[in-house]
Amino acid sequence: DQQVKQNSPSLSVQEGRISILNCDYTNSMFDYFLWYKKYPAEGPTFLISISSIKDKNEDGRFTVFLNKSAKHLSLHIVPSQPGDSAVYFCAASALYSGGYQKVTFGTGTKLQVIP
């Protein structure tokens, strides 16, 4: 049961244009959402996050939008740069009865920014 879904395995964008990566979730208990970026042969690195009480969070070229009613979030990268080429993972966190936060990751979207 895939609770966090990234339906686009890959995306190609021209340098300077906007990249939009999408993520859908099914568990209404998720209260925090994160995006990670992963280069080949490296571990994922945290990129940006958003709490469920907000609908937008911005950090430089990166903006995450959350639509709770649609259970959908998206990551916008403007302008896209060749160095943004990587696999992007969406992740969602929920508080469990043991008092811990469990994070569920999506399957990833491979972004290629073409110079």
Partner: protein
């Protein structure tokens, strides 16, 4: 900077061998995690630990066990390696449950033949 290190980048083992994957973090983080990454399946949580000697099963714990004897070190053990455990294994840590961000190691590519 937080540093999470994993004992090996590449490992080749035979079916039935006992395999140890080691992970060390240097930032006094409370929580540590083991994931595996497979094409089309993303990152799946195997086990995590929120304190020394404490552990919880993740989504796919079958065939694995873990050990956390010291706060900075979290080991993943494959009791009897099988070919379906060929994967990229990623260790991560986080400060505590109030901070959601996890810091990942570079990964260990394990091949079981």
């Amino acid at each position: 900077d937080v540093k999470v290190t994993q004992s090996s980048r590449y490992l080749v083992k035979r079916t039935g061998e006992k395999v140890f994957l080691e992970c060390v973090q240097d930032m006094d983080h409370e929580n540590m995690f083991w994931y595996r990454q497979d094409p089309g399946l993303g990152l799946r949580l195997i086990y995590f630990s929120y304190d020394v000697k404490m552990k919880e099963k993740g989504d796919i714990p079958e065939g694995y066990s873990v050990s956390r004897e010291k706060k900075e070190r979290f080991s993943l053990i494959l009791e009897s390696a099988s070919t379906n455990q060929t994967s990229m294994y990623l260790c991560a840590s986080s400060f505590d449950w109030g901070q959601h961000e996890q810091y990942f190691g570079p990964g260990t590519r394990l091949t079981v033949t």
